[in-house]
């Protein structure tokens, strides 16, 4: 065994589940071959592989530059060469649970904008849904194809100390990161090719084709090759290169709002050198609020005036459909298991994190008595804003949140603090445990499809639970491997 791994304790190290190493210090079944090979590499060789990965990233990295203050900044893209390995048998169940969840969420969105059966039946209070900023009254009465609104869903999963996957949140608006998932696999193939010899790893590079099929199935016109456009806010958006990447991968047009217009026939056209060309499906990567100045924010210059009109008439498909965010809400999250039973008559197969709704008296009392153990989140914010992690918060902070909750209980939820799982991560000269999460992507059009694995984000700072790339997060290649004995 090389020196890098000497001090690695795996699950022994703390109160965490380790993805590759068991609590007796040996590799998990599915990771056996990979860990053996990585431990046999000399320290110099490990460093050389990391160097090769950095080189590959720089070469490909041109596609991951960001634009700021008129200058072009190469975004350092921290990538850890040790892959995360999940046995296919385990993944199958997770994948099933993700597909089930996505179907239920879509039933919910379709119901909310149409008959509102779930509200009439009293499963969740109407005001929670209808008073939320994520509910868009402009979308009421629309029935998109297949009843599907959220065609692309990025669901964040974490593994708690019991080794079980839990859903942390569903991103139903414009989830990003899928291009990293694809690039990570490319890099691993280049720098650790021998790892692939003894494994049968489910490929991920099918994603752009699957996305194309999903989007094509939504086309209002029955064409062999419908016209699909990826709508980007433009070069200044940090995910611009993902937009370009996916457009290229699908053979779709990468368009900005000013390229599109709605004609008097209420169809969407793009301006081309051969004249207007009708667009059938728009994969939009801009938020609802900016989509159509006629329906949402009047000052939006990114969107297309009249596009909502065209969509409502069924002349164009928009993915994700406007208004999908209504199910992307911390309070609504608590009701997803109920939705699965209600709409699908199935038993939820993926666990959700226990959620206390401060609007309910008994929950509120529990939360206020246990602020030091819980994570408190505002219901309508995203991206970690206004959140309190009880065990790490000061007494004053907890007192402040107690006041906030009592003043506006509807706006707060609380969850137990999870122990995110760890995986061996190559830091400087040693392999150390770091916390991680997982974002699979679920596609839903005529059929449902789940990425084999997804994007693993890892907190590179010791002990940190923050996996966001803007705050010291990196990523790992994620393998779903067939068991081979």
């Amino acid at each position: 065994m090389n020196n890098n791994w000497k001090t690695y304790n795996g699950s022994k190290a703390g109160d965490f589940y380790d993805e590759l190493i068991t609590d007796t210090g040996g590799p998990r079944q599915a990771a056996r071959q990979a860990v053996k090979l990585l431990q046999e590499l000399s320290s110099e060789d490990m460093a050389a592989r990391r160097g090769a990965a950095e080189l590959a990233i720089r070469e490909m990295g041109i596609s991951f530059t960001i634009y700021s203050e008129g200058k072009n900044i190469d975004r350092a893209w921290p990538f850890d060469i040790i892959p995360r390995i999940i046995p296919a048998k385990e993944w199958q169940k997770v994948s099933h649970g993700l597909a089930q969840r996505s179907r239920a969420l879509n039933c919910f969105i379709d119901d909310i904008y149409n008959r509102q059966r779930i509200l009439a039946d009293g499963l969740l209070p109407a005001d929670i849904v209808l008073d939320s900023g994520n509910y868009k009254p402009q979308c009421a009465g629309v029935s998109p194809r297949f009843g599907t609104w959220a065609h692309i869903c990025g669901t964040d999963l974490v593994r708690d100390r019991d080794g079980k996957f839990y859903v942390l949140e569903d991103n139903l608006r414009v989830p990003s990161g899928v291009s990293y998932m694809l690039e990570n696999r490319e890099i691993t193939k280049r720098v650790l090719p021998e790892l692939f010899e003894n494994y049968s790893i489910l490929p991920v590079d099918d994603y752009p084709s699957q996305l194309y099929s999903t989007l094509a199935s939504l086309s209002p016109r029955a064409l062999r090759r419908p016209c699909i456009a990826v709508l980007t806010p433009g070069i200044f958006n940090s995910a611009y290169f993902e937009h370009a990447y996916l457009a290229q991968g699908m053979g779709a047009e990468l368009v900005e709002g000013s390229d599109l217009f709605v004609d008097s026939d209420d169809c969407v056209y793009m301006s081309t050198v051969d004249g207007p060309a009708r667009v059938d499906v728009i994969y939009r990567r801009i938020d609802d609020d900016f989509l159509d100045p006629e329906s949402f924010r009047e000052d939006s210059t990114l969107g297309v005036p009249g596009i909502m009109r065209a969509w409502k008439k069924g002349n164009v498909a928009i993915a994700n459909a406007p208004g999908s965010g209504v199910a992307d809400d911390k309070v609504v999250y608590a009701f997803v298991p109920e939705m699965i039973r209600y709409y699908l008559n199935e038993k939820p197969s993926l666990a959700s994190v226990k959620t206390y709704l401060c609007m309910n008296q008994p929950d509120r009392d529990y939360v206020l008595a246990n602020l030091d153990k819980l994570v408190v989140k505002p219901a309508n914010e995203s991206g970690g804003y206004g959140l309190m992690v009880g065990p790490h918060a000061t007494r004053a902070k907890r007192a402040e949140f107690a006041r906030l909750i009592e003043a506006n209980p509807r706006n707060y939820i609380a969850q137990p603090t999870l122990s995110l799982s760890t995986a061996p991560t190559y830091i400087d000269d040693t392999v150390e445990p770091r916390h991680l999460d997982l974002r699979p992507f679920i596609l839903q059009g005529r059929d449902t499809w789940v990425t084999p694995g997804g994007l693993t984000r890892v907190a590179l700072v010791k002990g940190s639970l923050v996996v966001n790339s803007s705050q010291g997060g990196g990523s790992k290649d994620t393998w779903i491997v067939e068991d081979n004995g």
Binding site: I62, A244, E253, V255, E256, D259, S271, V273
Partner: protein, 312 residues
């Protein structure tokens, strides 16, 4: 093959700016050599370069005296001057940034490298010492990018709009090169006869056309013959005639080309009616002025037909 109007417009401008960067570098290079060749006292002024590019208003914003230092700084390094080499390189790059998905991958890399080179060196290359190397590098790198485009780009709309931009810009710049010849002599009526061939040879050199001229026309560099050659030699890639013929070839397969073709054909007719008589320098200069206006009209026609339909 769908081509968005916005993408076509950016490709067209990428090509125009790349061509303008190269041609400005060529012109500046040739003029520097010329000044060194002509005996002190009878050399033409540096102001001619600014007049030729119709850039006086921009120049006067930051400078008063038309001396070598000011003019060269203006032509090479100044970011506010839309005709400076550095400005053109930067503008070309901005246009490639958002059209990378329709171009071969290496195009972005090379354009980006050209920009980084210009960014680092333009301001340091105003003086005669570094100027030559800098201009040489810009010309070479532009040609490399052009070569890359010509050998890897699919012959579709993307190629077509790139060609249109490059050819239109080149036609315009070639008329300006001839205007240097006319302009240099304006006000120098009784200039030493020995200087005249030097000027025209220098201009031929700036168009990489010296060798071809010698082989096709003859060893003696004469004003009328040079003007005729550079305007109307259909086999010379930097001649005005060659550029206009090329533009026609790219316009024909485009939809809605009628208006643009009409403007183009008018320019082609005025070119064929023109007779080179450099004795009438004023007249030559006026012809060039009118001709440049016609090229401008063609540019506007291309813009309103294909880039901003319905917005015009």
């Amino acid at each position: 093959m769908i081509m968005l109007s916005r993408v076509a417009e950016r490709l067209y401008w990428m090509a125009r700016y790349l061509e303008r960067a190269e041609d400005t570098a060529r012109l500046t290079q040739a003029y520097t050599h010329l000044i060194m060749d002509i005996p002190a006292g009878s050399e033409p002024g540096w102001d001619i370069l600014v007049h030729i590019l119709d850039a006086e208003p921009f120049f006067r914003e930051n400078h008063r005296a038309y001396n070598e230092q000011n003019v060269l700084k203006f032509l090479i390094a100044e970011e506010e001057n839309p005709g400076s080499v550095h400005f053109c390189v930067k503008a070309a790059r901005e246009n490639v940034r958002t059209t990378r998905d329709v171009l071969p991958e290496e195009v972005w890399e090379h354009v980006n490298e050209l920009y980084l080179f210009s960014q680092e060196n333009a301001a340091l290359s105003v003086g005669r010492r570094n100027r030559h190397h800098f201009l040489e590098q810009v010309i070479t790198r532009c040609q490399m990018i052009n070569g890359l485009l010509m050998t890897t780009l699919c012959r579709d709309h993307a190629y077509r709009f790139i060609k249109l931009g490059a050819l239109l810009e080149r036609a315009d710049m070639t008329t300006r090169v001839i205007d240097v010849g006319a302009g240099a002599m304006l006000g120098h009526e009784r200039l030493n006869k020995a200087v005249d061939p030097l000027i025209w040879a220098c201009l031929l050199q700036s168009l990489s056309a010296m060798g071809t001229y010698r082989r096709t026309i003859g060893p003696l560099v004469e004003a009328d013959a040079v003007v005729e050659f550079v305007f109307r030699e259909r086999s010379l890639p930097r001649s005005v005639r060659f550029c206009l013929d090329g533009i026609r070839r790219e316009l024909v397969p485009l939809k809605n080309h009628e208006a643009a073709l009409k403007v183009l054909d008018r320019s082609r007719r005025s070119l064929s009616r023109f007779t080179a008589d450099t004795a009438e320098r004023e007249q030559l200069h006026n012809f060039i002025d009118r001709f440049q206006l016609e090229l401008n009209t063609l540019g506007s026609e291309i813009t309103s037909t294909w880039f901003t339909p319905g917005r015009a």
